[in-house]
């Protein structure tokens, strides 16, 4: 069974007048449509596992999905999860819907976060890819995605969070899972790896 993947970036391509050089202007609309499409899929999907992707722009989320998830039994929302409010609404909505049994077994929700091992690598991809956003989008979303992930880990301790890093070296994009033996350890790690927008700007410009 192939995964069902909902992505605001894919939805943008279907919007009238969309062009890659002005992608940012279409983001609000495509994000709204992606939310609606995801809600509709939640009602009808028979996928056993629902995955919310998390991570800043050009961190490698979509590439991770293409490499490891697209052929699995997943309903995937390929987004950034930039705000606590938005993530909370989405999670609560999913949890209500997965109370129902599918083929006799309960569905599950997982968060898959992808962080670039090096912000500079992600920035290079972000600033040079075909769909154009201001670099302010890069800094703010990387900072807020990490903040939201930490919030989810605290507010929903029962939800499984898997964290991966992406690395691009010698022409190869690869991923590494960061596996924590205890939830407490994961929380400490997430706390230690929070960055403000200014912190990330400093990394990029240094």
């Amino acid at each position: 069974m192939s995964a069902t993947i909902i992505s605001a970036d894919d939805i943008k391509k279907e919007l009238p007048g969309y062009d890659l050089s002005h992608a940012e202007e279409f983001h609000r609309e495509s994000a709204k449509l992606a939310d609606r499409k995801f809600d509709a899929c939640l009602k009808t999907s028979t996928h056993q596992t629902i995955v919310l992707m998390s991570g800043g722009p050009a961190s490698g989320k979509t590439e991770f999905v293409a490499a490891y998830l697209k052929d699995g039994d997943y309903l995937i929302f390929d987004g950034i999860l930039p705000t606590e409010a938005g993530a909370g609404i989405k999670i609560d909505h999913i949890r209500k819907s997965i109370g129902k049994l599918v083929n006799g077994s309960a569905k599950q929700l997982k968060i898959y976060a992808v962080w670039p091992k090096d912000f500079k690598q992600a920035y290079q991809a972000f600033i040079s890819r075909d769909r154009k956003f201001s670099d302010e989008h890069f800094y703010s979303k990387h900072a807020s995605a990490r903040k939201t992930l930490l919030w989810i880990a605290k507010a929903y301790p029962d939800i499984e969070i898997k964290l991966y890093t992406s690395t691009y070296q010698k022409g190869i994009l690869s991923f590494t899972e960061i596996d924590f033996s205890e939830k407490r350890e994961a929380l400490v790690f997430l706390e230690k790896n929070q960055y403000s927008e200014k912190d990330i700007i400093n990394v990029i410009s240094s």
């Binding site: 290079q124 075909d130 302010e136 596996d179 205890e182 350890e185 410009s205």
Partner: protein, 93 residues
């Protein structure tokens, strides 16, 4: 308590999504950035440890133009706050 780093199986580098990402990073590596630096300007590629310093923006631009890799990269000019103000050829030098 222990954190384990587990390398994932190799991703298919011919997947269109992954190829697109790789191409974007490679394009990004060719680009040159001009950052404000105190009273002057710093010119560097993003991955460079150190940059070249200039007191005038004009000299920084000349250096960036001369050093842009095979003339196919982009020159990005960053403002006081670190954000991109414009890029060549979009910005007048």
């Amino acid at each position: 308590m222990a954190i384990t780093y587990k390398k994932m199986p190799n991703a298919d580098q011919n997947d269109p999504q992954i190829r697109e990402y790789a191409e974007a990073v490679e394009r990004g590596r060719k680009s040159i950035h001009i950052f404000r630096n105190g009273d002057g300007w710093k010119v560097k590629r993003i991955e460079d440890e150190e940059g070249k310093f200039f007191t005038s923006k004009e000299d920084a631009m000349v250096y960036a133009r001369e050093n842009i890799e095979d003339k196919s990269g982009t020159i990005f000019i960053h403002g006081e706050n670190g954000l991109v103000m414009g890029s060549i050829p979009e910005i007048a030098s």
